[in-house]
Amino acid sequence: VKINIKSSKNLTLFIIMMVVFIVLSIAIPSKFLTGINLQSMASQFPEFGLLALAMMMAMITGGIDLSVVSVSNFTGVIAALILSGSVDSSTPAGLAILFAVLAVVAVSVVCGLVNGLLIAIIGVPPILATLGTQGLFLGLAIVITQGHSVSGFPEAFMGLGSDNIFGIPVPFIIFLIVALIVSVLLNRTRQGFSMYMVGSNPTVAKFSGVNNTKVLINTYILTAVLAGLASLIMISRANSMRPGYGTAYLLQAILVAVLGGTDPDGGFGSVKGLVMGIIILQITQSGLNILAFSPFFKKFIWGFALLAIMVINFLLHKYNERKRVIEMNKLKTAAQTG
């Protein structure tokens, strides 16, 4: 019997997702299963969902990107300064927004390039390189703003975070489009295929003609650009930007990536699994909020969930291995006796 581990993992996730959803719907129907709650959930998760997508891409190549939240802070501060400056100098909102978006993309590409060069050219382990740049980028955000928050954006920009199109929140639509693009990138392009190869075995990838250096640099540029996009949603939803915003997202992004079936050692991970992971996290978060749990308890729960999922994955892996060995032995004895 051939078991597809990848699809069975997604099936498990799907079941968990449905169970959590149904339990909460039955337990607190008057508050959970309402249009407003569904809408607010759909507008809450895209900002860390984008960070989780970034984390997944780094993990697929066998790395990790601890600097995503700091990149968001850095690009967010720059966009916020451009936008609030435009309000003061009465620049047309459209032009200001265009400038802000371009600045975010440019700055995040540079941030990603710094990470990529450190990792791919100099050979610094991703943990260490992004640990350093995490401090560096956040530090830049703090230096630029002197630690203060920046607020007051054009009316038109606020729509990005709070408008609905046919009742669907705009951040959610942005997330769907980006997730689709990432999915196509991972499954249909040379870059995506190479990322999986580099992640599962860099030496084999190299000798198969993959340019590991280029693939890794591209990967870290992509993760930084996603972090930059997340910052646009963040500042639009909060109508301000303060350096240090969203530090809790780092753990959540790693949690969701691992929950969604991404292998932190590289080589595995899919957008489908990740999206289900995000939905599970968001539903649970919403449930905990409605049931009025303290933020400390949530902190505990996220740590616990991350560890529990990793332990379950480990045990499942071990179980599958054992089953495979037993079946192999059976085949062997059958071949010997027959």
């Binding site: 390189a129 753990l251 990793m310």
Partner: protein, 342 residues
């Protein structure tokens, strides 16, 4: 020790940077190079150094521990609450509780890392959130003010092993914290150099598979490593408490970045197997001078985060670029030797 071997060592360069930095600061502000300021720096950074030694041992074994700060604050906050609730006013009791908490939480890390084979960074990120969340949810969120801190803890914070008097009759001196640090440094050095388990820590960090086949008990060594880091975090918790005479369950957590930075700057490889205690201590000195004295040279504290990030990035860039260069040099030397290239 020859000059040539000194120039090859990371510690030499690091020490040079620390010295140059100190001279620059002294030139701008002469207060820096006084015995009093030095003793003060030692007093306030000994705790950080103790925590860094714990992280250093973990890095040596090929792991990473970002939960050490959460463990330290758990030890501290539980210890102070137990002391107040029980009415026992004894510094040894505080250390005992904090160390017990540290050992227990370190053992939890070890269970995940050693038995379930989970990646150390993600595990300790998870346990850090878990420990701190539990502390705030079930032990408390209120800070303990100076008025409620037991006298023995306050007295311990002021205790000196060497005392000098200023011209005006007041006294200053070398804090007992320095003695604790020295004891821990010697203990850790002996442990790494002369015990089987210490050699094992280097071995599993250098090459796990080889260590396993040589007969090292990997599980035992990992349990020891993470529990030792927990123990040191527990010690640091009480040191920090008697230093600032105040306990806030949100303190210490968040400084893990600069502690790891100190250790890594000290030349310890994040992939394990290489590193020295001396390097770690110099790394701590560099980070401490940077954190505490930016204001002395006229830079606002907003630059702190940026400088720490910058120092880590530059430090690791130099370390790894040097490694690449040496490897390439060796490869080409080998090729010339084997006659491939003339």
């Amino acid at each position: 020790v020859s000059l040539k071997s000194l120039t090859k060592k990371n510690e030499t360069y690091l020490l040079a940077i620390v010295i140059v930095f100190s001279i620059v600061i002294t030139a701008i502000n002469p207060v820096f190079m006084t015995w009093e300021n030095m003793f003060d720096l030692l007093r306030s950074s000994s705790g950080t150094a103790v925590l860094a030694i714990g992280v250093f041992v973990v890095l040596l074994s090929g792991g990473i521990d970002v939960s050490c700060t959460a463990i330290a604050i758990c030890g501290q906050y539980i210890a102070i609450n137990v002391l107040i609730a029980s009415g026992v006013d004894n510094i040894a009791f505080a250390f005992l509780i904090s160390i017990a908490v540290g050992l227990a939480l370190g053992a939890i890390n070890a269970v995940f890392i050693s038995i379930f084979n989970l990646p150390t960074l993600i595990t300790t990120l998870g346990t850090s959130s878990l420990f701190h969340g539990l502390l705030l949810e079930f032990v408390g969120t209120k800070a303990v003010n100076v008025g409620n801190i037991p006298d023995s803890i306050k007295a311990f914070g002021k205790m000196n092993i060497l005392t000098f008097s200023r011209p005006d009759g007041t006294e200053y001196g070398l804090s007992i914290f320095f003695l604790i640090l020295v004891i821990i440094v010697i203990l850790t050095w002996l442990l790494l150099k002369y015990t089987m388990i210490g050699r094992g820590i280097y071995a599993i960090g250098g090459n796990r598979e080889a260590a396993k086949r040589t007969g090292y008990n990997i599980r035992k060594i990992q349990f020891f490593t993470y529990m030792y880091a927990g123990l040191l975090a527990g010690v640091m918790g009480v040191m920090h408490l008697s230093l600032i005479r105040y306990s806030n369950p949100n303190y210490i957590v968040g400084s893990e970045l600069s502690i790891i930075a100190a250790v890594v700057l000290g030349g310890t490889r994040i992939s394990g197997g290489t590193g020295t205690i001396a390097g770690t201590l110099i790394g701590v000195a560099l980070i401490t001078i940077l954190e505490k004295n930016l204001v002395l040279i006229g830079l606002s504290s907003y630059w702190q985060q940026f400088f720490i990030g910058m120092i880590i990035v530059l430090g690791v860039t130099i370390t790894y670029a040097q490694g690449n260069f040496n490897r390439r040099k060796k490869q080409s030397a080998d090729r010339i030797k084997s006659g491939e290239v003339k």
